[in-house]
């Protein structure tokens, strides 16, 4: 036994170690400590401060660490050492295989193609959701036509102040071309923004229940729209009403449509996972749906701004149509015609 006195360091310590596994440890310790320092710096977001040599050495150090861990597990009984190596390996693994994108980089790839791809990937669900919405609107229209009492069941009370069956043409026109003064408009817009955002997000969330409540929600929401349409159509104001609705409604209804479609996508994966396991199918569809939903939120913010500022400020039906359908064309072109090559 080598009972040397004093602080053994470096070569001396390796020579002094009694056990073969300790010699193994002391020979590699410097590399581990170096990697530890680098990982700590990277975890704190100080990647730029690392020296070039360190960055170049990272993959080699990581591989060496993995092999050290494998060897230590098979040859060393120093549990403190193994625990350290395990935690260091886990941290290094998370750094090496961690998120690669920065927030800005993600935004660029998201708006530059990923969003459009995600929307196209749920095409079938969009068709189903669209069918539900069209059916809902027609059902609402015909129900009120058959019996006007249906109107009060379909339309929430807060919207049916003046806009009820039997209202005069002038009163209805007044709601469409209200005073451009804009009293409390912004607050109303903010309210509607959060309301429609809630409908879109709820349509998405209810996809969990195999998509059935999503379809019902879409039908119910467009049924009240159909009921409202009947009120205006009965006074010959169809064109004006559609114009009033279109200016923000094209964006907003498209957002609700996409939200519902994203929910249906998840519901379908849950109901019909195919050859994958339920969990795998769910997480796969969930990632696509989340991308679509992020786009939906952006659209809802646009719709909210249009709603608050453009709807009551633009008083001409022609311009309303032009803005509403121009923006709709832009959205559709962006989602379906914009196909950049994968970078």
């Amino acid at each position: 036994m080598n009972g040397s006195v004093g602080q053994p360091g470096g070569e001396q310590a390796v020579a002094a170690a009694v056990l073969r596994s300790d010699r193994f440890r002391l020979e590699r310790e410097a590399d581990w400590v170096r990697l530890d320092g680098m990982i700590t710096a990277m975890e704190k977001g100080r990647l730029k401060r690392l020296a070039d040599d360190d960055v170049m050495a990272l993959p080699v150090l990581y591989r060496n660490l993995l092999s050290s861990l494998s060897i230590a597990r098979e040859s060393s009984l120093d549990s403190g050492l193994i625990a350290y190596l395990e935690s260091l390996t886990l941290r290094a693994y998370f750094i090496v295989y961690g998120t690669r994108t920065t927030f800005g980089g993600w935004c660029r790839s998201f708006f530059g193609g990923d969003l459009s791809r995600a929307v196209r990937a749920i095409g079938l669900d969009i068709v189903i959701a669209l069918a539900a919405m069209v059916i809902g609107a027609m059902v609402g229209f015909w129900l009120v036509e058959a019996d006007q009492q249906w109107f009060y069941r379909l339309v929430p009370a807060q919207f049916s102040d003046v806009r009820v069956p039997g209202a005069s043409r002038e009163a209805l026109l007044g709601t469409l071309f209200g005073d451009p003064d804009g009293e409390g408009l912004a607050v109303f817009a903010a309210y509607l923004f959060s309301n429609n955002a809630q409908v879109a997000i709820l349509a998405f969330a209810l996809g969990f229940a195999f998509g059935v409540p999503t379809v019902l929600l879409l039908i119910y929401n467009t049924a009240s729209l159909g009921a409202m349409l009947w009120v205006f159509a009965s006074r010959g104001l169809t064109v004006e009403f559609v114009g009033w609705l279109s200016i923000h409604g094209t964006t907003e209804l498209l957002a609700i449509l996409l939200g519902g479609a994203a929910g249906l996508h998840i519901g379908r994966a849950l109901g019909f996972p195919g050859r994958r396991s339920h969990l795998a199918a769910l997480s796969h569809s969930g990632r696509t749906a989340a991308q679509v939903m992020t786009g939906v939120i952006v659209m809802l913010i646009c719709a909210g701004l249009l709603e608050g500022f453009a709807r009551q400020l633009v008083q001409s039906t022609e311009i309303r149509y032009a803005i509403g359908y121009g923006i709709l064309a832009l959205w559709l072109a962006y989602f379906f015609a914009f196909r950049p090559r994968r970078s």
Partner: protein, 311 residues
Amino acid sequence: MARKAQLGRSHGTDPKLKRTLVTPEGVALDIAVAPASARIGALFIDLTALFGLVLAFVLTVFLIAWAYSSAGLPAVSDGFTGFLFVLFIIGLFLARNAYFLFFELGQRAATWGKRALGIRVASRDGGRLTAEAIIARNLLRDIEMFLPLMFMTSGGVQGTLSEFAAWSGIIWVGVFLVFPLLNKDRLRCGDLIAGTWVVEAPRSALGAVVASGVTPAPAMGDGPGLPADRYRFEDAELSVYGEYELQMLETVLRTANPDAMETVAATICAKIGWTPPTGDERAFLEAYYTQLRSRLERGLRFGRRRADKNS
């Protein structure tokens, strides 16, 4: 056999929450799913932080508005105030999501609350944690918790909240809160959708070499006369213990509590029939540790493992 597979692996956490993650290089890493208590604690810290940030922001806005009006500058138009209000509402919505997104997209993949409790988000399949996954799990958080709470508070303020709506809101939030307890991986609905899970991110420091080969001098004054290799154990005296006891002994030596060392030394001496080395326990235990480990590691190299004294 199950016991054999556990040899050479780290100990400590609840065995029900232990999982194995295989890196692309083919090395199995032990990870532990974060327990529900850590999750709820982290959520609580995050909510507090978020509330504090929003409160600070609102106070700053009020302070600026107050300073602006007291400075006697011309009043802003109503339209402009309204515009600011819309921005504020949209900003609150984005800030709530941005807080979670920003921190979980970072290298540590953990918010302040998660960092404080030593847990982090990871991809369930062992691959790269993508931005889409982070967004998916946080979008669902809105649905699980913030939206129903917002529905209920806004309904309550306006007085339109019916009893039925209130109860269904509470049940909604309750179901999602309990959800992680109902599956073995402690997955929230957002984790389920995103293919992520929350795991413990342990940090341990590298301790000194215990079997240093340098025999410490005895605590009593009459040390210098003793030879460095005063404790030599026979094979039979070393063969009474296994790996489990070795690791316990290592813990005792690392903590270096004199009382514990005295008890352990007395126990070992009773087992192998020695007289306890009063005042020189540390040297005795280190010598025993070194020789026991040497013996067990020799066996290890020949493929013989011994889990504990009973095997």
